[in-house]
Structure formats: C-alpha cells, structure tokens
Amino acid sequence: MDELLPVITLLMATATLIAGLTLVAVKLAHRIILVGRGVRSAIYIAALGEMIATKLLPSHMPRQWARDRLFHQAIIDYRRLLSGDDGEFVDELIKRSKVLPSLRRRIQPPWLNAIRLRAIGSYVALASQQEIPYLRSLLTDRNEFVRFHAAHGLGRLGDVASVPLILDLCVRVRAWEVAKLADSLPLFGREAVYPICRWIDLAWQSPNSTEQAVAEAARTLGLIGDLDAEMTLLELLESDRREWRIAAASALGRIGSDSSRFALLRALRDESWEVRARSVRALAYLADGSVAPIVSGLLSDSQWWVRQNAAETLGELPGGVVELTKALESEDHFAADAARNQLAELRLLPAGVSPRLSVETQ
C-alpha cells in the first residue's frame, strides 16, 4: 500500500492540474469570444453610424453581416433610435443588407426553436409593411412563441386586417396563450376598435367562441379607451356570461361616458359579486363625486372584496372621504370596518378613532 501512495498522489495532482488548466482554457476562450463580440458589435455600430451620418449607401454589404445577430441588434438599435429621413435611410439599409430574407430562412421549422425565436424577434423589430403577409402566415406556426411574436409584429405595423385573425386564433388556443396573444391587440390602436367590436358581435352568435377570447377582446377595448367601443361593451355588460360582464365593467370605466356611468351603477346590483366588485372599482376612473353616496352603499355588501373595492373607490372619488367618515358611524360593522381600513390607509382616520377592526380581525 505504501508503494502505491506516491502513484496515487501523483495521479491526483495530475488530475487537479488538468482540471485547473481546462478551467483556465474555458475561461480564456469565453473571454476571447466576449471580446470578439464586443469588437464586432462596435464595428457594426460604427459602420452603420457612418453610413447614416453621410447618407451613403454601400453598393453591397458583406453577406455574413446579414447572418450575424450582432449586426441585427445594431441595425435594430438604429431603427428604434431614428425617425424622419434618417429612419427611412435605415429602412433602405435593412433592404440593402438582405437581413430580412436571411432571418426568414432561420424562422423556418428545420431550425431549432432557440434560433427560430431569436430570428423572429429580430424580424419583427425590422419588418416593414411588405412583411405583413409573411407575419400573417406565422400566426398559424406550430410554435406558440413564434405566433406571439408574429401577432406583436402585426400590431407594431398596424395591420388592422390581422385583428380578426388573432382573435380567431384566441378561440382555438389554450387559456394562457389567449392572454399572451391579446397583449398584442392594444398595439393596433384605435383603428382596431371597429374590427374588435365586429368580431365580438359575431362571436356572440357563435357556439364556438370561448368566454376568455371575448373577455380579452373586451379588455382590449378598455385599454384602447375609444368611445366607439361603448355600445359593444354595454351589451356585454348585459350578457348572461359572467366573464364578459366582468371584462366589460372594467373596460367601461376607462371609456368614461355618461352611458358607461349609468351602466356601471346598474351593474352594482349584479348577482355576481365579481361583477359588482369590478363595477364599483371602474367607477373610480370616472372621478365623478356624484356617485359617492351610491358607492357608499356597497360598503355593506355581503362580499369582502366588494366592500374593499367600494372603500378604495371612495378614497379616490371627490367627496368620497366624507362618505367614508360617515360610514364609521354605521351600525353595519362590516361597512364601518371597510371605511376605517381605507381611512387608515389614506392616513385620514379622525383623531380618537381606533384603527382596529371590530369584525374582520375576529
């Protein structure tokens, strides 16, 4: 055994040395790669900057530039930075560099998903109106993240004709995908209001429409906040589907018209506590103090969340604090507690009133 000891020690030392050298080599290689990337990136930024500043288009660009993601990033940065003549010149550079056909090849399925997603991300950032048909075709791609990118790209380009396509897609996909796809809809802006309302009208009659797709469409109308969406949202608020009423209530608060206000006040008597809770919260957007006494009535609702939302709304409405202070004297302990909680939150609790809740902490 004693004879083997030096051999074992030598082997262990050699293994440690090899492992250490390998680690150093890997670190060194990594550093070299990073430095190389930094240099390449700086070259692209400087070269593109020179072309843009001098407005000189090169007769051709090296073919490998179109395949290099650092070049993609550099040209994306310039595109995001510049408007006017400079922005148009960058668009010309994008065409001249043939970067879009190169990216399109990488978006195709034989490539790994990681490469495809990187390519579609850059493609969407660089795409112009001519790329709309291709982006629309990607809405049916087998990869859901490619579909999300395509929807966002179409939104960025303002291709309103794609809105019904995206909403139709929402009917066919899983719940989490609906929410991700719906995120792209506000990008289309006010121009999307009519197609969304039209789609909701048709979906209403269709047995295939999912509750969530319509609800997301209604939420989008609220985010866009255009008065033209009011009629559709008012109809949804009267529908027999709870999800639609909840979404419509939130959206109407953002629309903020007189009709919205009346409809939301009616919805405070809805059989669903979620609809009541959303409606009372939506009234806060309207900033109309005349509704404060009605909202105050919701402090006695049977559901904690409705009472809480009513108190928060009163905290934001003109004259709401007066109603909250009055509610402190209420014989309904739940109403008094909701008011006390909100006044304490606003640091407006009258002197001598205990912030301790009488019912809900018990």
């Binding site: 843009i52 500043a53 995001r80 510049l82």
Partner: protein, 120 residues
C-alpha cells in the same frame, strides 16, 4: 464652436450625435453612464449637454440635480424614450432646457442644439 457633452448608454446614439455635432463644428465629449456624465460636467468646461434620462448609475435628472448642487449650470437636453407627461414636466422642473423623445430626428436635434447655443 462649443464643447458639448453627450451622455447615453446606447452606443448608436453617441456615434450619431458625435458625428452630427462634429460636422456642425462642435467639440464633443461622449460618455456612457450617469456618473461619468457628472464627472465630465464637473471637470470639463461644457457649454451644453445632451443626456439620456435612463442611464446606468444615475438618471439624467439626477445628474442635473448633482450639477446644480455644485453650482454648475449650462443648458441640458434630456433625451428619452419615455412618452409620459409627468416625466416631461419633472424634467423641466429639474432644470432641463429641452426634452427630446426617441425616436429622434438627428437633423432636428442638431438644429435645436445650435439654436440654443446661439442664444446662450
């Protein structure tokens, strides 16, 4: 000819602004973060600064406030992608001379800078 400080963490902004301002006959000092911008304003005789609002280390408005504390004053253009009225108002309250939203029209920005320098 004026000495102009350009501070932005995005290299393309610096490259283009330096190119345009040099072409207009100015001397340009360019830096990539907030603390470096503050140092440059402190140690170099700057006639005008173009600051990005969101920079590593210090916000553009924080750099302006730090200069003001040191008694240093020159016109500052804030450059930002934030499209929000509160931010614009806050920038002017903090002492910014102008507020430029990205995406930027370089020719217009250069003209504004030159105009401001003429009335300095």
């Amino acid at each position: 000819m004026a000495r102009i400080l350009v501070a932005d963490d995005a290299a393309p902004v610096r490259v283009l602004l330096v190119r345009h301002l040099q072409a207009a006959g100015h001397e340009v000092v360019d830096v990539g973060d907030g603390p470096a911008a503050f140092e440059a304003g402190l140690n170099r005789e700057i006639d005008l600064a173009v600051l990005d609002q969101i920079m590593p280390g210090m916000l553009g408005t924080e750099v302006i406030a730090a200069w003001q504390k040191q008694g240093i004053e020159f016109p500052v253009f804030l450059l930002t992608a934030i499209d929000d009225v509160d931010t614009v108002v806050h920038s002017f309250e903090m002492g910014a001379a102008d507020y430029v939203r990205k995406p930027v029209n370089m020719a217009e920005l250069t003209a504004r800078i030159n105009g401001r320098l003429r009335f300095k």
